[in-house]
Symmetry: C2
């Protein structure tokens, strides 16, 4: 399968940044070759590479095609801001598993911070890899407020994942490495549905992958 690149359309051309130009050189693309590009907004551009330099590249657009529409029912995931490697992995898996929005939240027990810019680059790389034309939105959020249905994974939750009603937009809250604080637990109990994944203890990333993937499958997002 040919590579998918990310670029910005401008006057009949696509402009690629240094990172994409680097990716092109790694896969040994040459000027004059045809490349497929997305703008991350749902469009695919078939274009011919006219200029490939170290810090940028440009291609002429031959064909534009709408590949993905903004979904009416959204799958959002609250990803904890924790150690970067862990946060990075979760962002990557959310992209791969069809999440529409990634909400970065700093739980009370987390001493870490995260760069929005770095997170956006992870989304870009993961989306290119699994050919998502409409990139998930990434936001920092300050509160655990939810407009629609939200669930929290909890071994004591009364609803089993398999029996969960997946209609409408859903937000999945993934807990931080050190667990929720008492205050957060209370708040999530009031504002979200506590969902269990059986009786065994799963590591958080395993539980998160299973839940996001299962709901995405049910909602036909993957």
């Amino acid at each position: 399968m040919p590579h998918l690149f990310y670029g910005t359309p401008r006057n009949g051309e696509i402009v690629f940044d240094e990172r994409e130009a680097h990716h092109m050189r790694v896969v040994r693309l040459k000027e004059g070759e045809t490349v497929e590009t997305t703008d991350g907004e749902g469009f695919s551009y078939t274009c011919v590479l006219t200029r490939l330099k170290k810090s940028e590249a440009v291609a002429k657009i031959l064909k534009i095609e709408k590949k993905e529409e903004e979904p009416s029912e959204k799958l959002k995931v609250v990803v904890p801001i924790g150690r970067w490697e862990r946060t990075r992995l979760l962002i990557e898996k959310c992209v791969e598993l069809g999440a529409d929005e990634i909400l970065l939240y700093r739980f009370e027990r987390s001493q870490h911070s995260v760069s929005l810019e770095k997170s956006l680059l992870v989304v870009r790389e993961a989306a290119k890899q699994c050919r998502r034309y409409l990139f998930p939105k990434v936001k920092m959020v300050e509160n655990l407020d939810f407009d629609e249905k939200a669930i929290t994974l909890d071994p004591d939750g009364s609803v089993n994942l398999l029996e969960m009603d997946v209609s409408g937009s859903i937000t999945i809250v993934v807990g931080p490495e050190g667990g929720f604080s008492e205050r957060e637990k209370e708040l999530l109990k009031q504002r979200t549905i506590l969902v269990n994944l059986g009786r065994k203890i799963l590591r958080f990333e395993t539980a998160a992958i299973l839940t996001v993937g299962y709901i995405a499958l049910r909602k036909q997002k993957i």
Copy 2:
């Protein structure tokens, strides 16, 4: 939740190896304290630590309890022998997600090898972590022969994971990093059910976690 240790019962005592003795020292256990131990065969032993040395430990058994029975319907996973980090991760996730047997297989495109002993230690650590009293069996297998229902993850598979019949024992074939060879593909097409996980491209470990976890949930193994 208190720690679970692994040891071998012998004449009313439990004998622990160097690895377990090390784990005990790490969590600052002292002689005279009560510890919970499993033999990996489904039993829990409540015992009191009588001797904690660098290379071994011994505890006196106070109570024995059968915690897990050999299941009649088994969940088996063919894990590819590949780069150790990747194979290790898959073994760990299979334990966590309730697999009953882990079948290590070297696919044609793999140049790697694996130590059965190292694999058994990964199973032990993962099982202790998620409190499995009946450890999954680990075997090296030489052929892709299956007595019961077997599935292979394939984007072109005609059955969607959610619609799959999960009754009876099931073997899940997880592909190697470099993909199946043509011969293996043909063989798996004949001998297994090709199952898809939607239309998007998932990384192999993501697909494997989602599939093992989903079937384990449906079969109430987790």
